[in-house]
Subunit: 390 residues, 2 copies
DNA sequence: GCGGCTTAGTCCATTATCAAACAAAGTTCC
DNA sequence: GGAACTTTGTTTGATAATGGACTAAGCCGC
């Protein structure tokens, strides 16, 4: 029976999902493994796999290595059975990418887009760039676009899916990105906060053995994404991880856009640092320029970055005590600055209980530039291969 | 077939658990409901229920009210099929109780026990008091004791189950409470942090529709328990919720037992307040006396309690921004003081993002004196009726 | 290079589950 | 008060999953 590519995804049965899950995550890659991992009987596995192969979702990809007996026939998800568009909207730069059904990044590109141009214009440009990326390779365009997953630099309501009160996205308040982009593209759209997606991306492509992780995105703004028990945690309204307006301990009362004083965002965000440098008379266009300046041993830039790291670490100390994660990932543009990361580390260790930190790993992302896109892809695929479907 | 009481719990099958779950939580109380809730077919439900009735775990308890057709025959968990001992160890007072298999508190009592007497002495007294409570009513003693669930006022490692670095339990560091008490009692023992158990107790007996809750136990010390996605969250090492040594924003640098300055525990815990009152020349024996003083409009006690509430609220503001819970419960002895709770409320609302608070309920516990015991019972029963078993 | 051992995967009778029809018990409304 | 409709629960033939025996394929040691 020749396996054809599935034209559309009928929602999978619970049993098929039980098989696709381990195959997707790499927890199993043969029928024997699947039987062990899922607890289903070998005969059931055979039947389900036959069906999935017939449907075009799974393929046999050759023999594995023997573990002392007959060697297994390795199975794999049909990664070319579709393609997913990924978008990481930033304040002045947007990344787009394509992932296959295994979640691997096939292509990516960057767009200089000013987010304050508003939803309609930005999303139209994003879609035409995605179409161009799809057309750039006949391999890609042959595959069916299953949908697009978008990350935005602001809070996303978990009920409505709308962007809510985004301080860095003027003109986007209340925007239903899924409806607008879905209207142009005609495929399912998922929308999430960008830091949340980065957390997912880093979790999926990094250490999956640690189920409790916090990903800090320190860029022009500061936010974080939370992985609890191996799943993205968004809180009751979808606002979890928004630490922009947490008060920094022992910090000067700098006024913040939220109307209060001494918020993390007003003190340690890339935006705040650039502003402060400019006030000090230095010519820095953006956060990247500031980091470059610090790399060239500019004393003011270096001091500011270290202090920002320290303040961020002070806030994260509370969070680490409260949440007790096993892994803390410091990402975002600022994490390219060693001084910043060092500041985070030192203050965090100084202010945390030993019990909270002695098993804590603090790292930077494995793929700093890609984890947002990878997370977008993962979130989409997790949903596609879930009971909920799309 | 006469249903006899089951002598022991064979571990339940996944399918039986799917039925026991809704019966236990009250999500279903008839075969028709169960079919709807579990998604299993009515015939399967009939077969499983027959088995569970035969095993003595479920009983028919009469007819329900009609909803426009034949009236359902209501089913219920056999709550008298066993009994669970619950212990809430405190620094100078310990509560004990008995719950039936539905989690309802059947009896309770309090012991004046100084926790610094050490594990062996304290646990021996606890066990003899539990035995006395069991013997106090022939109804209770007839039921089989399935195990004991213990809450301790200190961190419990999620790997080893041992008490780790407990600042308020001198002589208990590294103690394996389950082994010691299990050795005397000869039944399975579960051990958890007390604030965690209170969070579970309040969640189980309170608003179960809100899956993300934070319970703050403000007593002689300050800790909290976290419910994430409807389940207790303990973090990677079991230390989640330990906010004792979180730095209070804008607070005086009072030295703390942890070696740093300005920790919540050193500033706003019942212990800290009593000490400060004593330093001010007032004669207060303990936290209860201080609260009574404030109730009698003593200006110093009142001011201290309000400030403590405000500082606690300041720390909780960060946590609410980060975790975005739908419900925050302020419990522990200090929550009996209206001034304290008012301080928490006002500072929290002042320092949180509107998005994090506009759907947030802040309350005191429904049953302030019982939620620790109820939580202990719930944790034990959840484990008993889980795939893991005991 | 050939039995004995281990692992992988299939076949088949037994068992559990399902969907649909049916029976039981009540409500509603003319 | 009785016909039509609702909800609850059981029965039954069809379907799907299971466990165990069986075949396939490769490793190991002598």
């Amino acid at each position: 029976m020749a396996s054809r590519l599935p034209a559309s995804f009928t929602r999978f049965s619970a049993q098929n999902l039980a098989i696709l899950g381990p195959l997707r995550s790499g927890a199993a890659d043969s029928k024997a493994d699947l039987a062990k991992v899922t607890g289903l009987s070998p005969s059931t596995i055979t039947a389900r796999i036959d069906e999935l192969i017939g449907l075009g979702h799974v393929v046999e990809v050759g023999d594995g290595v023997s573990r002392g007996g007959r060697r297994p026939r390795t199975l794999a998800l049909r990664r070319d059975a579709g393609i997913v568009g990924c978008v990481d909207l930033g304040v002045d730069r947007t990344s787009i990418g394509l992932v296959d059904l295994s979640g691997a990044l096939l292509a990516r590109g960057d767009l200089d887009l000013d987010i304050s141009s508003g939803p309609d214009l930005v999303l139209a440009e994003v879609w035409s760039a995605l179409k161009a990326l799809l057309a750039s390779d006949s391999e890609h365009s042959r595959r069916l676009l299953r949908g697009v997953s978008v990350g935005v630099p602001g809070p996303v309501s978990s009920e409505s899916g709308r962007v809510v009160a985004p301080s860095r996205m003027p003109g986007w308040n209340g925007t239903d990105v899924a409806r607008i982009l879905g209207g142009i593209a005609g495929v399912p759209i998922l929308v999430n906060n960008d830091a949340n997606l980065m957390a997912v991306g880093e979790f999926a492509s990094g250490d999956r053995t640690e189920p409790n992780q916090v990903f800090v995105k320190a860029g022009s703004g500061i936010g974080c994404g939370i992985i609890a028990r191996g799943e993205l945690f968004v809180g009751s309204r979808g606002a979890a991880g928004d630490i922009s307006h947490v008060a920094v301990p022992d910090a000067p009362p700098v006024p913040c856009s939220c109307g209060r004083y001494g918020c993390l965002d007003a003190l340690a965000s890339g935006n705040a640092l650039v502003r402060e440098l400019q006030n000090a008379g230095l010519e820095v266009a953006n956060v990247e320029a500031m980091i470059a300046l610090a790399r060239d041993a500019d004393p003011v830039a270096t001091r500011l970055l270290r202090e920002a790291g320290s303040m961020t670490g002070g806030v994260l100390a509370s969070i680490v005590n409260f949440f007790n994660p096993g892994r803390l990932i410091v990402g975002g543009v600022l994490s390219q600055s060693e001084v910043f990361v060092a500041g985070v580390r030192s203050t965090l260790y100084a202010q945390c209980l030993p019990m909270a930190t002695d098993q804590l790993t603090i790292t930077t992302p494995l793929r700093p530039g890609d984890c947002g896109l990878l997370g977008a892809g993962t979130v989409f695929l997790d949903r596609l291969f879930s009971e909920q479907g799309l």
